[in-house]
């Protein structure tokens, strides 16, 4: 099968977590994983809209992608809030979210004419998500969590770390390749789809691993 | 005919005090002149009634037995004081003796022993409760308390020393007889002679005397 078919197949993996989530709707609601599930829905929706814009409307998809990135960031930040992250330092949390949105706005306004992506917002929010995830998994490792690897939060955070670190790398490759493609940059850019697929599968597993709600919990 | 001994008792545990008062009130040899619930009350009672003897608990609120004893003996040095003690107070008993008490009783003494203590101390002798532990005995010996009237220890024969050691180790007369190949009656005879020579009334007195005069060492009986 040729590469574009392969890429297409890989991109369908985005629907796995959507399906998994639909199966676990009740647990998602009770477990506080709604933002994450909305993110999956958004990703699924994006996978439909993106090729439509590219192939049918033959427009640049920059606007769509950047808007998608903003929502990705907001939903993930909301999910971390649900997980109790920076619970006691609300000001810091709000500050970070507002700051990143401001960067997005500035980037949009300043660079709106461009037909290629600027890395600032993307690298920033990838970096923040990785930091948040590292924090969360370190917390879980050092406290008495039973069956860590079956814990959906843990799995999701590991997936975040892998995916968003890779995305930072991807940004480097993309920016570098604007000045001339090399084998390395092409490789990294190509590998991105695989990493994306792997992440989607992990997300699906995580959603399936959400435990049924406990009657009485001190969470 | 002897006069009745006038007696004041002090104890902060009402139940025990009542029982003691009741028991003493039935005795012909003593008159109960009053009861106190703490050291200060005891002092007031002694000031008012001027008793011959005081039976006092050691741990009491407001003013404890030791403080009360010192004050009483300063004002009325002829008063004879007997300390009453529960368990776990061994070093306090020693402090009472150093403060001037002439004897002590553990509170689980029976009627006979209490009377014996009163009569012994009334005659001017020192009384050691028969429930004295070896540990308490060694504490007494090590303290500043002068445990015996006689300044110089009398001499004992070797046989007597052997028997003293066995008495200190809590052997009965029968057991001592078995160990030394003597009859029980012979042993009892020795024992009486030993008690007389030492001028003590019971085994506790023997132990203390023996420790004090190095007839036996602490490690041998503990």
């Amino acid at each position: 099968m040729n590469s574009s078919n392969l890429l297409f197949l890989l991109s369908t993996t985005v629907y796995f977590p959507v399906l998994a989530g639909l199966l676990r709707l009740h647990r998602i609601k009770k477990g506080g994983y709604q933002p994450f599930f909305f993110l999956m829905l958004l990703a699924g929706f994006f996978e439909l809209v993106n090729p439509f814009v590219l192939l049918v409307l033959r427009m640049h998809n920059i606007v769509i992608v950047t808007v998608y990135m903003l929502f990705e960031w907001l939903l993930i930040a909301w999910q971390f809030r649900e997980w109790g992250f920076l619970h006691h330092r609300k000001k810091l949390y709000s500050g970070l979210v507002i700051f990143t949105c401001a960067v997005w706005l500035v980037e949009r306004v300043v660079f709106w004419k461009l037909d290629y992506f600027m890395p600032y917002f993307q690298v920033l929010y990838c970096f923040l998500i990785v930091i948040f995830s590292v924090n969360t998994i370190n917390f879980m490792i050092t406290h008495d969590y039973r069956r860590l690897f079956r814990n959906p939060t843990f799995q999701i955070c590991i997936a975040f770390i892998i995916y968003f670190v890779y995305t930072i790398l991807f940004n480097w490759a993309y920016q570098t390749s604007l000045n001339g493609k090399t084998d390395t940059t092409t490789f990294i850019i190509m590998l991105h789809s695989y990493v994306n697929a792997l992440t989607n599968i992990t997300f699906a597993i995580a959603l399936l691993c959400i435990p049924p709600p406990q009657k009485f919990t001190l969470q | 005919m002897k006069n009745r001994i006038s007696l004041v008792i002090a104890d902060d545990h009402e139940i025990f005090r009542d029982g003691l008062a009741l028991m003493l009130s039935k005795q012909e040899a003593v008159t109960l002149a009053g009861q106190a619930g703490d050291g200060e009350e005891l002092l007031r009672l002694v000031d008012t009634m001027r008793p011959d003897m005081v039976l006092t608990d050691i741990k009491m609120p407001r003013l404890d037995g030791i403080g009360a004893a010192k004050l009483i003996l300063k004002r009325y040095p002829d008063t004879k004081i007997i300390a009453l003690s529960m368990f776990e107070e061994e070093d306090l008993i020693v402090e009472m003796l150093e403060a001037g008490a002439k004897g002590y009783l553990l509170k689980n003494a029976d009627k006979r022993e209490i009377l014996e203590a009163i009569l012994t101390v009334n005659e001017g002798n020192i009384f050691y409760c028969k429930h004295t532990t070896a540990h308490l005995a060694s504490l007494i010996v090590k303290s500043k308390f002068d445990s015996h009237k006689k300044a110089v220890g009398p001499l004992f024969t070797d046989r007597e020393r052997e028997i003293i050691k066995l008495i200190c180790r809590q052997h009965t007369a029968q057991e001592i007889g078995n160990l030394l190949f003597l009859s029980k009656r012979t042993v009892e005879g020795y024992r009486t002679r030993i008690l007389e020579k030492m001028d003590v009334k019971n085994t506790a007195g023997v132990v203390i005397f023996a420790l004090k005069h190095s007839i036996i060492k602490e490690e041998e009986i503990l």
Partner: protein, 246 residues
């Protein structure tokens, strides 16, 4: 253009470096917080237990003690005619003596009053004296330097010595046990040495010896001290304890 590529590369490397450093820093911080929490938990447990013991010993002494003495007194006051009855009363009196003796022992085991009245070293000396005649190990106490220990730490150090002595008697089959106390730079040092059969640290952690060892470690921790255990099978056992007592 080369410069731009270099800039971007440097920038991305910096970001990745920060992430890695942050990973390690945050895991260490969380771990420390966790350990502190655990230590506070253990401290609370041990303190509650000691308070309970104190309360029980006090109750025995104040509530049961006088009642028993009063009972004994009353029984001995009863006048009876027949010799058989007198015999019964005497026997009852002796039982009461035994009860009081047991209570004294229990109360003493729970909380020796000497500890409060005369301090740690006296209490240890008394404890060793009592232990000496019940079994065959020869125990010697050396005090190189008398040092003052804060009141709230005394009971824990006392319990640790109790635990070590019991371990030696029960498990080590030793002939001699030496306990030495000294002071250095604001720290209490305690070294114990026995010539028993020793044990293998790894294997012992389950079972009653292991339980005792763990409680030793816990107590040492809450005193902010350090416990070093040195033992080899056939080579005796040494404990070394160092506790700040400023």
């Amino acid at each position: 253009m080369e410069a731009k590529v270099l800039n971007i590369t440097l920038f991305v490397s910096l970001i990745l470096g920060i992430i890695i450093v942050y990973f390690f820093v945050s895991i260490i911080r969380y771990h420390r917080r966790y350990v502190k929490l655990q230590r506070e938990k253990i401290f609370a447990e041990i303190t509650i237990r000691e308070n309970e013991r104190k309360r029980i010993a006090g109750d025995l002494h104040d509530s049961l003690g006088p009642l028993l003495s009063a009972v004994k007194l009353n029984i001995s006051s009863v006048e009876v005619e027949s010799a058989a009855d007198r015999e019964v009363l005497e026997k009852t009196g002796r039982y009461l003596d035994e009860i009081i003796g047991s209570m004294r022992r229990i109360s003493h085991d729970l909380l020796p009053s000497t500890l409060e009245r005369k301090g740690l070293l006296e209490a240890i000396r008394e404890f060793l004296l009592q232990v000496k005649n019940k079994q065959s190990v020869n125990i010697q106490l050396y005090v190189v330097k008398e040092i003052a220990v804060p009141k709230e730490k005394e009971i824990h150090i006392f319990r640790m010595i109790q635990e070590i002595v019991h371990n030696t008697i029960k498990h080590a089959h030793a002939h001699n046990l030496q306990i030495g106390f000294s002071e250095e730079g604001g720290h209490l040092l305690c070294l114990t040495k026995d010539d028993g059969q020793g044990f293998d640290k790894e294997k012992v952690l389950s079972g009653s010896l292991g339980l005792g060892l763990r409680s030793l470690e816990s107590r040492c921790e809450i005193l902010n001290g350090v416990l070093t255990l040195d033992s080899t099978p056939g080579g005796g056992t040494n404990y070394f304890i160092k506790i700040p007592v400023n």
